[in-house]
Symmetry: C2
Subunit: 453 residues, 2 copies
């Protein structure tokens, strides 16, 4: 069902390789981000599980092929031979990737694809869509989780993004440490806890706030979280405590000065004996406003985050690219790079070695994939980040469950130098050290000379 | 298939209304944007066709209901009676909306829903997702179309957003005047022309640029658009003209100084007799860079726009909200408004009357839906913008085809005061006049007094 969810040129080039009899060649491509967005000191890899499912299921059915024959610029190339090729198409390549939840930096491959040239080309766009979108959300979510440290973050953004993007956003947020989502389908599909409170409309649909609150508590005796800011927040807090009594699990405040109102509401609730009632806040929150509320010790238990998360407002697109890095044609192996200004790429297939001291990451070494571990200093350890996900088109690594990804993200975030977890603008100091291995540097030099020749 | 693609609280409140026996009430809700994003002087309505399809198809199937029984905060409310209600659920309400492609302003309803309270509540989130996302893209696309005026804009953004969001983005862009998309599925689903060129990988997969270009021209004799900036753009232009000759429909430049390189490439192509060959440019383009290239009279025929369009980078979320504005309970009719700071809403069901002089829009009057046309000055005409789309759950207006929406958007954009089509930051002068009718003002005053009482 996803075969046509791609750029046309992937299919025209696939046809071109077919007609030029370049099908025997094996290509290695890597997906990476050239430069981190200005507002990001690290990225969190996310989306590879969706990519593997896409690659396992990718087929061109009769309807797809019938449509492709009608596309003017492709029609000439839709010969019986190429149609047969599309009918029989399966992804038969190898995938190595960084498991979801891992922090990554610029020029580091999220995914490496080694496959027959046509296949490696054909899957580019959909793979980029999935990883760019999910990693964008995960990277934003991680900042919010760090800012909320000790309090709970829940995902409330469905209405502010495409309905299907919202489901992936909920998963990405949960995967890096959000506690729950309001998106029911995300809950069903991915086993994420779903949560919610009452809304303004509930209150406004009743003749009075008192009646609205009492009615809610009666219907949901075990899940009474009331929205108290429809008219006056303090009065709302009193009415909620009065109407729901010991059933009052929580109250939500969605407007105004959240620092001031959370303190005032906490005092009212405590005074009325509702010391266990939790305070939820929402309304255009991001990592900066959350950090400020935490720093001020506002008595807030749960932050509901919507727009800022699902649109990643301060970095609303991740510019991941997918580049050919090597080509094999039976006898000949070519390592490939681009040296255009601002768009240079590293030749060859790569591995990332994360070097740590104790629990703390200290630098990454970007090496060639067939090199061993880097030379370490005393006290350092290293681990390769890219691991096999598929071989010959088959999954070789079981899908991670979300609990495993959450644990990996938690550990990965904790391992970053403290300055990287800071939320301010970037500077020279906030850059994680990523160095090419000596063998990669030598290869770069050799390819640069060849291209110049 | 979309029933659970919503916020949990819509379903808990639906259950609440059911158990509180509030099902007989009829609610009127409106979706609107409170404030235009800083970088927008107008919005373009988009998404209502998807909303109508969603409302026509909305069902809760056995699997949906089985899952809902497992959600802790909803479980208490999933009584046999409510389960029966969900099984039988159909949207039975009325929809009035502004047809797609229409320019809109702040506080103006995109959609009005009048339905039994549960239904009006249950559809909120999905309706907002669809209209917020599609209108965000359409509003950005309109600025790009205005900037490109006289040249062609094509949509290339799939890789920089969620794969399904990309399909809707391609439709929204085409609906306001883009000429084509690279997204094949969007082409199939919506009948949009699909387009593409060669890619860097095509060139790099061949032993030389000459071989890559000659091979492409041979395989696609009627659709040869070559990407010429892999190594050196001028040299690439010469090689393309030489290899493809009269087959060379176009060349694409994806990097560097597009003003300078397009001139240089145009001169080379002309000198080699390829005066008909079109120049396509791409690479992080937006309305500002396009306007600058147009102003400089760079010889560019087609602009390919990706990231900036699909992520609407300068306004990456549209904050459309959905508010209860009236409630009927058989005997009693209540007009409803919120007066919270910064979140005030207009009570009652509304109509927008667009007032024009000749072909130019001069102001909008936001009136009550049961008022007639506004009082006009001499030489003015007016037309209501909200029209019926559904009655009693059935479609009453045939779906617009994209050609009709394109014509409407074109006419709508042309009718805006020139200062609104300008791309700079907003000021007092750039605000389109939207005035409440005297009857709406009187109602606001009355409801304000009631709430204060």
């Amino acid at each position: 069902m996803h075969a046509l969810s791609t750029d046309l040129y992937q299919l025209t080039m696939a046809a071109g390789y077919f007609h030029r009899e370049m099908t025997a060649r094996s290509a290695t491509c890597e997906m990476f981000v050239r430069r981190l967005p200005e507002a990001r000191r690290y990225l969190i890899a996310m989306g590879i599980e969706a990519v593997v499912r896409y690659l396992l299921e990718l087929r061109f059915d009769n309807e797809d092929i019938a449509y492709l024959k009608t596309v003017p610029s492709l029609a000439d190339a839709m010969t019986p031979g190429f149609v047969d090729y599309l009918h029989a198409f399966r992804f038969t390549g190898d995938i190595d990737a960084v498991p979801e939840g891992t922090p990554l930096f610029e020029n580091e491959p999220f995914v490496r694809v080694r496959a027959p040239l046509i296949e490696a080309q054909a899957v580019e766009t959909h793979l980029l869509s999935l990883i760019n979108h999910q990693s964008m959300i995960a990277s934003k979510a991680a900042r919010i989780v760090v800012a909320a440290e000790g309090a709970t973050a829940v995902e409330f953004g469905t209405r502010r993004t495409h309905p299907d993007a919202a489901i992936d956003a909920a998963r990405a947020a949960y995967a890096v440490g959000f506690a729950a989502t309001s998106n029911v389908e995300a809950g069903r599909r991915h086993g994420i806890p779903v949560t919610g409170t009452a809304a303004h409309m509930w209150t406004m649909a009743h003749a009075s706030e008192e009646e609205a609150f009492a009615g809610y508590a009666e219907t949901f005796p075990n899940a009474t979280i009331l929205l108290i800011d429809t008219y006056d927040t303090d009065r709302g807090a009193r009415r909620a405590a009065h109407a729901a009594r010991e059933r009052l699990k929580g109250v939500r405040i969605d407007s105004g000065d959240l620092d001031q109102s959370s303190r005032s509401v906490r005092a009212i609730l405590d005074e009325m004996g509702r010391t266990e009632t939790r305070i939820v806040v929402s309304g255009d929150l991001n990592e900066h406003s959350i950090a400020a509320l935490r720093k001020a010790k506002a008595p807030i238990d749960t932050f509901g985050i919507g727009t800022e998360l699902v649109a990643s407002v301060d970095a609303p697109a991740l510019g991941g690219v997918y580049k050919l890095v090597a080509l094999d044609d039976g006898a000949e192996h070519r390592d490939i790079a681009k040296f255009s200004m601002g768009k240079a790429t590293f030749p060859g297939a790569h591995q990332i070695h994360r070097v740590s001291r104790g629990d703390m990451a200290v630098r990454d070494v970007l090496s060639l994939s067939d090199e061993g571990a880097p030379v370490l200093e005393r006290g350092e350890t290293s681990a390769p980040l890219l691991v096999p996900f598929m071989r010959d088109g088959k999954r070789t690594r079981p899908a991670d469950d979300l609990a495993a990804i959450r644990a990996r993200a938690k550990q990965g975030l904790a391992s970053l130098p403290a300055i990287l977890r800071d939320l301010g603008p970037k500077s020279h100091d906030t850059r994680f050290r990523v160095e090419p291995s000596p063998a990669l540097e030598a290869l770069m030099e050799r390819v640069r000379r060849e291209v110049a020749a």
